[in-house]
């Protein structure tokens, strides 16, 4: 077994774990964390694909590596938006409770 295959199996488990957390956690923040864990698993899978595709003197296929860089930035944007929504919902609820 090579290191790439090992991390590929690791990514498979991370995806399962992340998906489980993102479905069953009842706290929204925990779901957001689990979503990030799941996303990292998906990126790792791309990384394994990249590593296996060595050639032309490169340590890996640069295309999936570039895709992961784009993906990490997109996932961060998603997390920022989700967290902002969560905090706003929390603040509005708190204000409503205070009025009551």
């Amino acid at each position: 077994m090579t290191g790439a295959t090992l991390f590929g199996l690791c990514a498979a488990v991370l995806v399962g774990l992340g998906l489980y957390g993102a479905i069953v956690h009842h706290l929204i923040l925990r779901r957001i964390v689990a979503f990030n864990l799941l996303g990292a698993g998906a990126f790792l899978l791309f990384g394994v694909v990249a590593r296996r595709g060595t050639g032309a003197g490169m340590g890996g296929d640069p295309v999936p590596q570039a895709l992961v860089i784009t993906g990490i930035v997109v996932a961060f944007s998603a997390t920022a938006l989700a967290v902002a929504l969560l905090l706003r919902l929390h603040a509005v609820r708190a204000a409503e409770d205070a009025d009551r």
Binding site: L38, G39, L81
Partner: protein
């Protein structure tokens, strides 16, 4: 030697450049609207959307005239290394629908999202106009991108525009609906992304055209197909993953609801069509197609029954969207029959026509409902009496939209259902026809429930109905009339939907 000149002669194709323009124009508008800000975002948006409308017409015209698909290699780099934009008949039809509905939403939104004073920037107007431009970029990219990863970025763009539109009013329940929508959508995107990783691992490309030649039935492909389908189904709100849709679509401001129900859910649906018919044509797809259609049938029945039981008008329309999305999925087993056969071609045209017809009709209904709710001060169906007399134009728009959903001739819904019914009878799958007919009866039920109430005499004890501005009503009516006349597409000499489809013979659908 430039890469453009060296690698790809078609990069300079003037018609292909239209596809670039369809994506660049709204993006430039978004950047400009955000940077000038102030009260000028509205004017920037209207200007760039008008330009986008002209581009959409030009794309349809180019495909109509030439009879084959357009393509453009970005930067002159051909796939698999580069990214290509492609427009076949399917994408042209959806792009035209987008330009039409977004334009209508912009005109409708002018009365609700004007700047508070000349040159003064406020939260809701700036957000609305910038998001409207961004949603156009995202949708056009979904119709035209030929690369599965670019489509992932497009899906995320679409999510990031749709979610803030849901909770523009900032109330706790719409924020909650937006957050729930966001979680579903993100999950869907990640599952889709996992699928692209697996496809790349097996074939070393994400280009749709190249994949369609290389894909073979093997474990990586089946796993990828299952993951991507599950993700896209969650984003399209197909039963049983529909729970997020009604609160989100009913809670948004009317202009946004129209956009979300008419176009945004069609984005992920369109990708499902691309996935099964263009990326994976080499896969024996009988069983998955049957499964999707079974879920669609359940959505038709459940959504319709739930729509009948709603007390609020906007929720009724939102549940109707759940049901109408179900119809879209009935096309999968019908269109995956013997490739190239007239049955499959008819089913595909029928399915896409249903998408377009629902887009225009549902946008009209949400707008009309918004006008009514604004005039009444509420949207309880029980309190609608007298609305038909006070707001005849809006009521007429709602009724026409409803008639298109039911499928009365000569509406687009009529032709769509006719094509799908014919395909199901011809292929011996009459049970899907039974679902369509039952769903039609339910649709009659909930449309007449609203129209009947509104026709009633107003109780003297109810508060007066405020007059509503005419522009919004006229826009809703225009969209409803368009959806009512879409069935006349049957008279056209060319079936635009089928242009550029290698697996399907270009045959007239009648």
């Amino acid at each position: 030697m430039t890469p453009g000149a060296a690698v790809l002669p078609c990069a300079g194709d003037p018609a292909g450049a239209l596809l670039v323009l369809a994506i660049v124009l709204p993006t430039a508008g978004f950047l400009l609207a955000l940077s000038v800000g102030g009260g000028r975002a509205e004017r920037v948006a209207l200007l760039f959307l008008a330009g986008g409308f002209a581009v959409a017409i030009a794309i349809v015209a180019a495909i109509w005239r030439s009879g084959h698909a357009l393509s453009y290699a970005l930067g002159g780099w051909t796939p698999p290394l580069g990214i290509a934009l492609r427009a076949d008949g399917l994408s042209a039809v959806m792009a035209m629908t987008t330009a039409l509905v977004v334009g209508a939403v912009a005109l409708f939104g002018r009365q609700n999202f004007a700047a508070p004073a000349p040159g003064v920037e406020a939260r809701v107007p700036l957000s609305f106009w910038t998001l409207l431009l961004a949603v156009t970029t995202a949708l056009n990219l979904i119709w035209f991108a030929g690369d599965l990863f670019s489509l992932y970025v497009a899906l995320e763009l679409l999510t990031f525009t749709a979610v803030p539109l849901v909770c523009l009013d900032g109330r706790a329940d719409t924020l909650e609906a937006a957050l729930r929508y966001m979680l579903f959508a993100l999950m869907g995107s990640v599952l889709y992304l996992l699928g692209t990783a697996l496809l790349y691992s097996a074939y070393g490309t994400l280009d749709i055209a190249l994949l369609s030649e290389r894909v073979r039935p093997e474990p990586a492909v089946w796993t990828a197909a299952a993951l991507m389908t599950a993700g896209l189904v969650a984003k399209t709100a197909l039963f049983p993953l529909h729970l997020w849709l009604p609160p989100a679509h009913a809670g948004a401001p009317p202009a946004a609801s129209a956009l979300l129900s008419a176009l945004v859910v069609k984005g992920s649906f369109f990708l499902l069509v691309r996935l099964w018919f263009d990326v994976l044509p080499g896969l024996p797809s009988r069983a998955p197609a049957e499964l999707l259609a079974a879920l669609g049938a359940a959505a038709v029945l459940m959504g319709s029954v739930l729509a009948l039981r709603q007390a609020r008008l906007k929720l009724l329309i939102a549940y109707s969207t759940v049901a109408q999305i179900g119809y879209l999925f009935l096309m999968f087993p019908l269109a995956s029959g013997p490739a190239g056969g007239p049955v499959a071609a008819g089913a595909l045209t029928g399915g896409m026509l249903q998408a377009v017809s629902h887009a225009t009709a549902k946008a009209a209904m949400f707008m009309a409902a918004g006008v009514m709710a604004g005039a009444l001060g509420h949207d309880r169906i029980a309190g609608l009496a007298g609305t038909a007399r006070a707001l005849p134009m809006s009521m007429f728009a709602f009724g026409l939209g409803g008639a298109a959903l039911i499928g009365l001739p000569p509406s687009g819904g009529f032709l769509a259902k006719w094509l799908l019914l014919t395909a199901s009878v011809q292929s011996g799958q009459w049970w899907w026809a039974a679902v369509m007919l039952t769903g039609g009866l339910f649709t009659c039920g909930y449309v007449f429930m609203v129209v009947g109430r509104a026709m009633g005499e107003k109780d003297a004890s109810e508060p007066r109905i405020i007059a509503a501005p005419i522009t919004g009503q006229a826009v809703a009516l225009a969209l409803a009339v368009i959806s009512m006349l879409l069935g006349l597409a049957a008279l056209a000499p060319l079936d635009l939907v089928l242009v550029g489809r290698p697996t399907l013979a270009v045959v007239a659908c009648r």
